[in-house]
Amino acid sequence: MLLIALLLIPVATAAASYFARRRAVMEAVNLAGFGAVFVVALVLGARVLASSTVSLANGFFYADALSALVILLTASVALICASYSIGYLRDDQQSGELGDDVSGREQLAQLRMYYTLTPLFVFSMLFMAVANNLGVMWAAMEATTLASIFLVTFYGKITSLEAAWKYAMIGGVGLSMALFGTLVAYYAGHNLTGSAALSGLNWSVLAQHSAQLDKTSMRLAFVLILMGYGTKAGLAPMHTWKPDAYSEAPIPSAALLSSALLNCALYGLIRFYILTSGCLGAEYPSRLLLLFGLLSMGVSVPFVLVQKNYRRLLAYHTIDHAGIMATALGLGGALGSLGLTLHMTFHTIAKALLFLCAGNVYQHFKTDQFSEIKGSVIRAMPLTGVVFLMAMLAIIGMPPFSLFQSEFLILRAAFDGGHALTGVLFVVFSAGVFAGALLHVGGMILGPGSDAPAAAPRPWRNGSLLALASALVIIGFWVPAPLFELISRAARVVSGQ
């Protein structure tokens, strides 16, 4: 019932705002819808804490701590983005970003598209997190792509079409690899569970018999899945669509893409990792994961160092962190898994916050080039400037912000697990990213400043900014006990203990 509600509310929201006639209605509907989703997600979390798993329709829907965590993160980011996008889109409408016709019909159509597609996008992510059937999970993943493509093309510029095209093509290929992997996994399991039976693709069933799965097939399956869901997660070398898509999509959608969608992709990966390590032992998948993870971290370094565009900079950060989380998954064990789930949580908050700050800056200065802003942010918009710098320091792993803690855990897992080289490379890469990010963002925010006009008050945007920022600061010093319990349970799901 709870799960049904979780899935129905977004759909209803989408429908409602599709038929809505006025902007205010759409905004209200979205806000209410995502608020409800958030509440449901909280309840689900509590339920999962009470009874370890929640399942429905004889196991078609299935939620354990990991799913609950992913859902909670998705829901909270969605809520924040909803409240932010109200201010953001109003600003766009005033500044004529949405086409300037007198009737305003075009603008309304575009707003409708946004307010309809966003709930669908969130819906598909939630669906993926509660789907027990691997095939359905795949379908949901595909749905996220389809729902988000037109969010990327929102502004209809040629560059945004280009970004959408690359997103669609690379995502399509990735997803077909993932589908292939799912097939092969099904093949690996279809001997023991009767073919054509629906439960034959159920993760919970396969996880129980993971030891009896066909080894060769699981190898092939994992390779394909890793590359497939890795594409959505943005692991190098499948990462190339990310900077384009993030820098072209409207900021709230970019925030959703880079925090919530990343979690979902990793979620799929984790599910298959559990199956594979159950079948082949952790050694085989972890080697591949470490390979891709380190590659992603390494690839992001030079682009961060010589980046000119702050939205692309954030995208490369996401690639870096996808690599970090893949590495954590590959390191596995109690420490690695806890590091992974903690990092997932912390990264979601920090990255969403970064994108919202970037949105403020972008809408004020109308450019995403560092060179054209040159250190006047702190003067023109003090709050945004301070929060931006703070979030940037957080994302590059500076204490007292929380990401340092998760990265510390991951590194410790590396050294305890005897992956000293991994640890060293990790440190080297993150030092590189640190340097680059600090140089650029510091130079953008601090400085003599130009005579840029002070920004107009933006209650919706700064409200969500403040909420997220305070969350970021607090969580570095104090994680609420239930939340931590959820996180550590999710970690136990990952490490299979």
């Binding site: 095209w165 690359k166 093509m169 690379i170 290929v173 990735g174 690899m177 060769t216 190898r219 092939l220 390779v223 590359m227 594409t231 070398p237 499948m238 190339t240 669509w241 900077p243 591949l288 690839v299 370094v301 030079p302 682009f303 010589v306 806890l338 903690l342 250190g375 500076m398 204490p399 007292p400 340092f404 803690q405 510390f408 855990l409 590194l411 410790r412 590396a414 050294f415 305890d416 000293a420 640890g423 440190v427 080297v428 993150s430 030092a431 640190f434 340097a435 600090l438 140089l439 510091g442 130079g443 601090l446 400085g447 003599p448 400043g449 010093f477 104090w478 994680v479 931590f484 550590s488």
Partner: protein, 675 residues
């Protein structure tokens, strides 16, 4: 009791930080709150850590922070307590000074933010010194770096300040990476992050691991301490930051690196191999010598002081290196002597360098320039500042009867005794180090003759200097406190030495103060019978008696036949500031003698009107080369950037290319990954 006291200090700092940030719209209130909280917190922690220094067992306090994955706890053992004392003693004076110093910023700058970061810096440094496990240490370490960064680039509209801040933060973060690796290697060896479980751990590891961890720690902490060649951020960061911050940076933030080394070398290592000691000793000598040599070439007052920080860190490391070598050679007593020398100098440097930076701050505030060539004659307009600065200058030059001489004397004694401890050639290192230390000290004296004489003596060289005003009362008070403590630490050396007993006891199992103090606390000895003694109190007594008996009466009698007359002006019409010897001219001989090192570049353009003998205008420009930046860091940076630019070709924008990446990866994995 001690725990409560310490915690209350922490809380006061925290409250001060938050409160001043909250008051950022009322600069006056923000200033008062920030400085008051800083002062109160420092006094509380001074009391707490002074008590903890002599408490029988280490005091452990858990903090109610963080998540269950980590423990946030502080532990005050003698070593931590000693450094904490150093911090809070300096911080108290600096906070007092800041009352007056920050007045100048009111209205122009956001004092709320300043107060926030100022208190945060004190707080984090205190936690760095007392953190009880590797994780919490690193957290405090990075928070400190962050606060220091924000304070260094506080005047962020100046490019120099921004660049210096970023350079500092990046270098310190790179250092932190090394520390992270080192700590985690230790942790994986013992399965815990607690410092208490690291005790003597390193010595149980394989030689390779030992060496690696040692080097990682040495360079990781060396960045913060400013050991050559990791020093380049110091001469950039200290000058640009506000002077009270420079005082803290140089006085205590550098010492966090020293603390880390002491913690690692004397707590984690039992008897380290000999080569480690020699490496530290070598680095110490190099830092000391290069630091003072580059200081001599500066005429930016604050940068000159910054270079001297490098020099003094070198002197401290000479002591530590000698202690390590003695430990390797099994000479616990000598190790204690060397360690005491190093720690004593640590405390001294905190005092007189803080004093000097505050003096420089007053001068800069009064003259609106850091360039010595534009100062002069300030001793008449700012007598108290001048006197305090003079005390600091004498102390840092290691001249009796002030505190600098004590620690250098102890260092000499340790080095002297080192010669007999081994038959191998390494024993030559001790006297060589000693002689180079002597050179360093003499050059430092030369440098501070310049650093005092040029700004304070003779005629003013600029209108600003001509009508400079004496610093405000609180600033003078802050400086006076440190000046007095410099004198006290010199004359009262024998009363101060017992402070080190708990530390040497903890690190080496030796309590040596009873051997060091002689003649009813009148004289200090190197701890061996007939090893030579000094008694600064005695010297002071002699000067007092002599002064009272001869100097004073005679001077009074001679005053009657004293007349004031013009100084010899070489036959020119009257002596003007143009006749005066400049700082550049003063260091000219050394520039010539060490030209192989400095590679000075000079450029003289003279314009003539009538004949080549009467130039109407001369433009003289001279600069020296900084080899580490020119030959090491800049090329490295350029290489990396060039490589990164080349790597950008990966993201060339072609969808076909992107698909090809995935395709090739897939094929490779299918062929080699699956089977």
């Amino acid at each position: 009791m001690i725990a409560e006291l310490f915690l209350s200090g922490i809380v006061v700092w925290l409250a001060g930080a938050v409160a001043s940030l909250a008051l950022w719209r009322q600069p006056v209130a923000a200033r008062r709150v920030a400085c008051g909280a800083a002062l109160a917190g420092s006094l509380l922690d001074l009391a707490a850590s002074a008590a903890a220094l002599f408490s029988a067992s280490p005091i452990v306090i858990g903090l109610p922070f963080g998540n269950p994955a980590f423990t946030w706890a502080v532990r005050l053992d003698p070593l931590s307590a000693f450094f904490s004392v150093t911090l809070s003693a300096l911080a108290a004076a600096v906070s007092l000074y800041s009352f007056g110093y920050l007045k100048g910023m009111e209205g122009r700058r956001n004092l709320g933010a300043f107060g926030f970061f100022f208190n945060l810096l004190l707080l984090s440094v205190a936690l760095v010194f007392t953190a009880s496990n590797a994780f919490f240490f690193l957290v405090a370490w990075e928070v400190m770096a962050l606060a220091a960064y924000c304070l260094v680039s506080f005047e962020h509209e100046k490019k120099k300040a921004r660049d210096a801040g970023v350079l500092f933060l990046i270098m310190s973060h790179a250092g932190t990476g090394l520390l992270l690796i080192a700590f985690l290697v230790l942790a994986s060896a013992c399965g815990s992050l607690d410092f208490s479980s690291f005790h003597l751990l390193a010595s149980r590891m394989t030689p390779l691991q030992q060496g690696t961890v040692f080097l990682l720690f040495l360079f990781g902490f060396g960045v913060k301490a400013g050991v050559v060649p990791l020093h380049i951020w110091i001469p950039k960061a200290h000058p640009v930051s506000p002077s009270n911050v420079s005082a803290l940076m140089s006085g205590i933030v550098l010492k966090t690196g020293i603390y880390g080394m002491a913690r690692v070398f004397f707590d984690f290592y039992g008897a380290p191999p000999l080569w480690m000691g020699t490496v530290v000793l070598g680095l110490g000598v190099a830092s000391a010598l290069l630091g003072v040599l580059y200081a001599l070439m500066e005429h930016d007052l604050k940068r000159l002081l910054a270079w001297h920080s490098i020099e003094n860190i070198g002197i401290i490391l000479i002591g530590f290196g000698a202690a390590l070598m003695f430990r390797a050679l099994g000479q616990a007593n000598l190790a204690a002597l060397a360690l005491i020398a190093g720690l004593y100098h640590t405390f001294n440097h905190a005092m007189f360098k803080g004093l000097l930076f505050m003096g420089a701050g007053s001068v800069v505030e009064a003259t609106h320039t850091r360039n010595m060539e534009k100062m002069g004659g300030l001793i008449r307009r700012m007598p108290v500042t001048a006197l305090c600065f003079l005390v600091g200058a004498v102390a840092i030059s290691g001249l009796p009867p002030l505190n600098g001489f004590v620690s250098e004397w102890l260092t000499y004694q340790a080095l002297l005794a080192g010669f007999g401890t081994t038959q191998s050639l390494t024993r030559l290192m001790f006297p060589i180090a000693g002689s180079l230390l002597a050179l360093t000290a003499a050059l430092a004296a030369a440098c501070f003759v310049k650093a005092f004489a040029i700004p304070f003596l003779a005629l003013p060289r600029s209108p600003e200097a001509a009508d400079a005003r004496e610093a405000s009362f609180t600033m003078r008070a802050g400086m006076t406190i440190l000046a007095v403590s410099c004198v006290a630490l010199g004359l009262g050396a024998t009363w101060f030495v017992p402070v080190f007993d708990p530390i040497t006891q903890q690190a080496l199992g030796v309590r040596s103060s009873s051997a060091l103090v002689m003649a009813h606390g009148w004289a200090l000895s190197p701890g061996r019978p007939h090893g030579g003694t000094i008694s600064l109190a005695g010297m002071a007594l002699f000067f007092l008696v002599a002064g009272a008996a001869f100097a004073l009466p005679l001077a009074l009698r001679w005053r009657r036949r004293t007349v004031r007359g013009p100084a010899w002006d070489c036959g020119l019409p009257g002596l003007t500031a143009d006749n005066e010897y400049t700082a550049t001219a003063f260091s000219k001989p050394l520039r010539m003698i060490f030209s192989a090192l400095y590679r000075p570049r000079r450029e003289i353009q003279a314009e003539y009107e009538v004949s080549p003998y009467y130039p109407s205008a001369i433009r003289f420009e001279s600069e020296i080369e900084h080899p580490f930046e020119k030959r090491l860091y800049n090329p490295l940076r350029d290489r990396i950037m060039a490589a990164a630019n080349r790597m950008k070709g990966i993201q060339a924008g072609s969808i076909n290319l992107y698909l090809a990446y995935i395709f090739i990866t897939l094929i490779l994995l299918l062929l080699f990954g699956v089977r």
